[in-house]
């Protein structure tokens, strides 16, 4: 098992850049860290396998429109971008999870990944204090907007922080 924190950040950055053509940086490399956004959306994808858990993202609603616009090749103000914002977030989250798990557990490990679903950001916050779960979090600035990625792992074989 490998150290999850750098893998989580690098996989997230890689997917945003390759799949959504969105520049992604750690907050400490950005000249001015964006303020905490008010209109956040949260999505989560759960998985089972050698260990179980979930991967969640909390990010500004506007970022979803940008992602959809980039992925679909339309303008950010195009109604199609707004209509597909949640889908774009979900697809990005799906790709991060699909690439993250083999990087953590090895290429022979088999996981079953569920479809992404909206979640309550308050419940995400409460998860980080749960005693029986291994928590890995990462903050990332995507096209000038702050996003949080949360990886929660459970099970005897789950990597620990």
């Amino acid at each position: 098992m490998r150290n999850c924190h750098p893998i989580l950040f690098e996989t997230t950055k890689d997917i945003f850049e390759k799949a959504a053509f969105a520049v992604a940086d750690p907050p400490n490399l950005v000249a001015q860290t964006p303020a905490e956004p008010e209109n956040n959306v949260s999505l989560s994808v759960s998985f089972t396998g050698p260990f179980r858990g979930s991967l969640s993202i909390r990010a500004p609603e506007q970022l979803g429109r940008l992602l959809a616009a980039n992925m679909l090749g339309v303008d950010e103000n195009d109604p199609e971008a707004a209509a597909r914002a949640s889908d774009a977030f979900g697809e990005i989250l799906n790709m991060i999870c699909g690439n993250l798990l083999p990087a953590i557990a090895g290429s022979r490990a088999e996981f079953s990944i569920q479809s992404p679903a909206p979640c309550d950001s308050r419940s995400l916050s409460s998860e980080t204090t749960s005693p029986n779960k291994n928590i890995f979090s990462s903050r990332i600035v995507i096209e000038g907007r702050l996003a949080d990625i949360l990886l929660i792992l459970e099970g005897a074989d789950a990597p620990t922080p």
């Binding site: 997917i15 799949a19 679909l72 597909r84 999870c97 699909g98 290429s107």
Partner: protein
């Protein structure tokens, strides 16, 4: 000759991206059909002439594994080549896909060039081959 392609993915965004890269590839494409899951895909295969299926694996209702298994049980549909486009990273699962006669596997995130190479290999072979399906390209 134009080829009809069926794209199977539960994400509309993903289906749009695949369709766009198919058109960008310059391949001789006729109709592009879409399905949200394996069950819808099997329906589309029954209702339309499909020359190539490009499918995700992790989908609700019926996943890619189940869809491919059902396709392989049908005398006619089993002849349609399948390309998997998925985030699936488990080598164990990918080997199972190759055993199921999947012709190629494209890993997400992919580039337009990734799709183009697969289409050129498959459709080129498709044109020159009388009856044989291309074996595993990847």
């Amino acid at each position: 000759m134009a080829f009809n392609i069926l794209i199977v993915d539960d994400s509309q965004v993903a289906r749009n991206i695949v369709a766009r890269t198919i058109r960008m590839s310059g391949a001789p494409v006729g109709e592009i059909h879409e399905a949200e899951n394996g069950a819808q895909a099997l329906q589309a295969l029954g209702d339309n002439w499909i020359d190539l299926v490009m499918a995700d694996i992790n989908m609700p209702v019926m996943d890619g594994f189940a869809m491919i298994e059902r396709m392989n049980r049908d005398e006619i549909v089993r002849r349609v080549p399948v390309v998997v486009i998925s985030t699936e990273g488990s080598e164990t699962k990918l080997e199972k896909l190759r055993e199921q006669r999947v012709c190629a596997i494209i890993h997400k995130p992919f580039t337009a060039a990734d799709v183009r190479v697969v289409l050129i290999n498959l459709l080129g072979q498709w044109e020159t081959s009388n009856a044989q399906l291309p074996s595993n390209s990847f």
